[in-house]
Structures are given as C-alpha cells and as structure tokens.
C-alpha cells in the first residue's frame, strides 16, 4: 500500500516537527501545573483577585514564552539536520518550523485565555470589567508571544548561517531585550507596583481603552510584519544551508 507522497509528507511533518513541540510543551505544562499548585504559598493575603490573575497571566506568558524562545536553538542544530539527513526537502522543513511555531504560540494563547477565565471567576469580576482586563491581557500576551516568535525566525536563520556566533547574537541582543521588557511588566504588576484599582479605573476610561487598543493593534501588526520578514529570511537561509559532517 503506497501512500501518496503528499500525505506522507504532511504526516511526517506533523509527527516530527509537531511532536517535538508537544514534547517540550508537555514538560513546561507539568512545571506550570506544579507552580499553580504552590501558588497559595506565594501570595500575600492583601493581594486582590485582579492582581492575582494579572500575575498568573504574565507568568504563564513568560514561562511558556520560553518555549518559543528556545525552539530556534534546536531547529538549526537538531530538527533541520536530522530531517534533511532522512531525505526531507527543505521547503518541507521550513513548513515544519512554521507548524511548530503555530502550535507553540497557539497553545500558549489558549492557556493564557484559560487562566484569565479562571482568574475572572476567582476574582468575581465579570461583564465589562472582565473584558477590559482579559482583553488587554490577552492582546498583550499575543503581542509578546508573536514578537518572540518573529525574533525567533531571525534567530534560527542567524544560528543556521553563523553557528555559535549566531547563537550568541540571538541570545545577547534579542532575548535580553525581550525578557527585560516582559519581566518589567510582569514584575511590576505582580508585585503590586501598579495599583490595580488605578489600572481598573484607567482601563475603564474610554479614551485610555481606545489608546491601548490602538497600541496593541500597532504592536500586533508590527509583529506580523516582522514575522513574515523573519520567515522569508529563514526560508532563504534554509534553502542555502549546507549539511556538513
């Protein structure tokens, strides 16, 4: 029984590239679950519910955002050479990378969404308030994750082309900046530097909401554009890549 090559190609791409992401994701999920279980220990009594969920959402983003950050290290050194050595074409490999990215980002956002729903319930926030918080949180998460993914495309291309030097560049220049940003936001919110009552009233102000929506809109557009450019650069680099001994 001969499967058509197209079907085979799709099936092996999903199994190899997708399966790889899922394995990592599972690991992180386990760590995350453990973290959530211990959450009561880490919380001050006077933290309000709203702080709680912002805290959790940002930690969720950071922890699982790491996966997206880490993937570009393994594509050039493990997944791609292995796939090529087994006769995969390069276009197929690039598609596999995109699938992995999609899975990583998509699953992360799913978790963020679930966390926010749960937090909303816990904090007994609902209706307009809830959507203000949740919407902003979700959009911000999407923005951050996509940004990391876009940078990851360039990172993978760099590592592919320049090897160890590329790895160094990726880590130093890009990651630190990204994490500095994310940490600042997460940290400040989490430790209550920003008063949630202030945030709430801020967010409920129609003007502020508009502005935030616009900012997030721009951020997401930039992200998507950067991702596409990154994708093109990565594709070009992969097509020219030499498998060496």
């Amino acid at each position: 029984m001969e499967k058509s090559m197209k079907k085979q190609s799709v099936s092996r791409t999903v199994r190899f590239w997708g399966g790889y992401v899922e394995k990592i994701f599972l690991m992180v999920l386990v760590i995350g679950a453990v973290y959530v279980l211990f959450l009561p220990v880490l919380i001050n009594e006077d933290m309000k519910g709203t702080e709680l969920f912002l805290l959790r959402a940002s930690y969720a983003v950071m922890m699982e955002g790491i996966i997206i950050f880490v993937l570009p290290f393994s594509y050039p050194t493990y997944n791609l050479p292995l796939a090529l050595s087994f006769g995969s074409g390069r276009r197929e490999a690039v598609a596999g990378m995109q699938l992995s990215n999609l899975l990583a980002v998509g699953q992360n956002l799913l978790i963020v969404g679930i966390v926010e729903l749960a937090a909303g319930k816990m904090a007994a926030v609902s209706g307009r308030e809830f959507f203000a918080y949740a919407g902003t949180g979700f959009a911000a998460a999407a923005g951050i994750l996509l940004a990391i993914a876009a940078i990851g495309q360039f990172g993978a291309a760099l590592i592919l082309k320049f090897g160890a030097k590329g790895t160094a560049i990726y880590i130093i220049v890009f990651a630190l900046a990204v994490f500095a940003g994310a940490l600042t936001v997460g940290f400040s919110v989490g430790t209550g530097q920003i008063d949630d009552a202030e945030i709430l009233s801020m967010l409920l102000d129609a003007h502020v909401l508009q502005m935030i929506k616009r900012i997030v809109g721009v951020l997401l557009t930039v992200d998507v554009a950067a991702y596409i450019v990154g994708y093109l650069v990565l594709k070009r680099t992969v097509m020219r890549y030499e498998v060496r001994m």
Partner: protein
C-alpha cells in the same frame, strides 16, 4: 526507478571547486563501490546525489527528473550519513536509538520494521541507549540499520564500517549481500577498507580530486591491471606503449603497474614477472602519492 544521473555536477565552496563537472550514471540493481582518498569528494558527491546539499552547477536526476526538492524522487533515495552527536547540541545526543529509528521510519515510506529490529539484535545494540553514549562502531551500526531498513531503491552508505570490528564488518558484508539478493536495490558504498569490500562491488567508481577517474566493472578492471617487474631496461621494453603507473625503482630493478587499454595485451617473451593486482593495489597505483 531505473537510473540515476549526475549531469555535469559541480560543487564550489567559495572559489574552490570540490567536485568538478561530474558525470555519472548509476544503473539499477548494482552494488557500486565508491573509493577515493580523504578529501577527494566522496561525501560531497553522495550528499548531492541524495539532494541533502545543493549542487553549485549541474543537476542530479532520477529517471530524468531532477531530484532537488522533489519529494517523489527523494522517497526512493536514502543517504545514511555518519551520525556525529557530539558535534550537535543536546537534542541529538540525548535521542535514544529506538527513537532515532522510529523517526527514520516516518521519513522512509517503505521502512521495514522487522528488518530494523532484527539488525538491532544482530548488532547487539541497546535500543534504550542514547546516541551520545554510543561508541563509533555502534553509531556505524545505527547508520547501517537505517540504510538497510529504509528499503530505498538507491541507497548510499558513507564509510559504513568505520569503527566496526572485523567480525562486525564481515557480518555487514553478508547482511548487505543478503538484502541485495532479496531486493535488487542499488547500493553505493564508499569505503577506505578496499580489499575487504572489493568482492562485493560489481562496479567500482574511483574519484580523484573531485573528478571521476574511472567507473568500471570490478572484475574487468582487475583483468587489465598487472604489476610488471624485472631489470629496468627489460621492463621499459616490455611496457612500451602501455599505460603505466606507480613506478618503483630499487637498484637495477624496476616495477610498474600497467593498465591495459582496449585491445592491448600483456608483453610476452620478456624476462619479467607479471603479477595480478588487487583492487587496493590498483587504487593506490592510480591515486597514490606522486614521487
């Protein structure tokens, strides 16, 4: 899947042409030996013939169709290269043998699981062991298993016996022949251990400094190669007009390797010793160091 062709294949790294204008035809159902010195371009050639690396110029075709990025063609080709987990970061070195083989099975549509399992046992491999912890010989065994179990119509092996002890090497040749007689697949085996493998090769391809030196039926090549030795003047007379290589002199004696051309015959009536040669002798004569 009848023929694979290299059509004027050239490979450049920078300004340096590592493979030059290579034309080659591989017919279905033969075991080819690919021999050449280190750096002659064996691995580079094989990786282009399996579309793992692009050619700078020229093309590689299977039944006339270019194989580059051609999944339908590539499903019939397998190039089992050396695995070097130390060169890569952790993921490859952490992979267990059985997971490596499982991944291989996804990529080769015709994968023979039973054959793979049988070979794992025969090579005394522990499926749970991680690639980074394997000896060179065991890594070679894994490569061999991938090559044979892939059931690909055109299968290439790059120095498959590196690191195997002699008992395992002989087992490899036998298992290769068994698979070959059962399936009629085409194999190209590159090796440095020429003499051991010579009897297994139906045709031998010699690559020298990136160019094709010869491609010929092994038996026919050996039937036209001889070592002629004796007194210098007598030898010179005897081999006049014939293609000579690898001349060695000591005192009043001299010996040369002679490769007879079409229609040429061995000199008769001269007081010289004429000895048949092994494939290794011929290779060294043709590709050895110039004095």
């Amino acid at each position: 899947m009848e023929t694979m062709n290299c059509n004027k294949v050239t490979k450049r790294y920078g300004a340096n042409a590592v493979i030059k204008d290579f034309d080659l035809t591989l017919e279905k159902g033969k075991i080819y030996g690919l021999i050449g010195r280190n750096g002659a371009g064996k691995t580079t050639l094989l990786s282009m013939m399996s579309a793992q690396n692009p050619a700078s110029e020229g093309s590689v075709t299977l039944d006339g169709e270019n194989i580059w990025e051609n999944a339908d063609a590539l499903r019939h080709i397998c190039f089992a290269r050396e695995i070097s987990p130390s060169a890569n970061q952790n993921s490859l070195a952490n992979m267990r043998v059985r997971d490596y083989l499982k991944t291989a099975s996804w990529f080769y549509p015709a994968w023979d699981k039973e054959l793979a399992e049988k070979l794992v046992k025969k090579f005394e491999l522990d499926g749970k062991k991680r690639l980074g912890k394997l000896s060179k010989g065991m890594l070679s065994a894994v490569t061999i298993i991938v090559a044979l179990a892939s059931k690909a119509d055109f299968t290439f092996l790059d120095e498959p016996v590196a690191g195997l002890d002699v008992v395992m090497r002989e087992y490899f040749y036998r298992v290769l022949l068994e698979e070959y007689t059962n399936s009629g697949r085409t194999f190209v085996i590159s090796t440095h251990i020429i003499e051991e493998a010579a009897d297994v090769f139906e045709e031998v391809i010699i690559i020298k400094e990136g160019a094709l030196l010869l491609k010929e039926n092994t038996t026919e090549l050996l039937e036209r190669a001889y070592r002629v030795s004796g007194l210098i003047e007598v030898v010179d007379e005897a081999v006049k007009g014939l293609k000579c290589y690898h001349e060695e002199k000591s005192g009043r004696a001299k010996s040369v390797t002679v490769l007879l051309g079409e229609g040429e015959r061995l000199p008769e009536g001269y007081d010289v010793s004429i000895q048949p040669l092994t494939l290794q002798n011929v290779f060294v004569a043709l590709c050895g160091m110039e004095e």
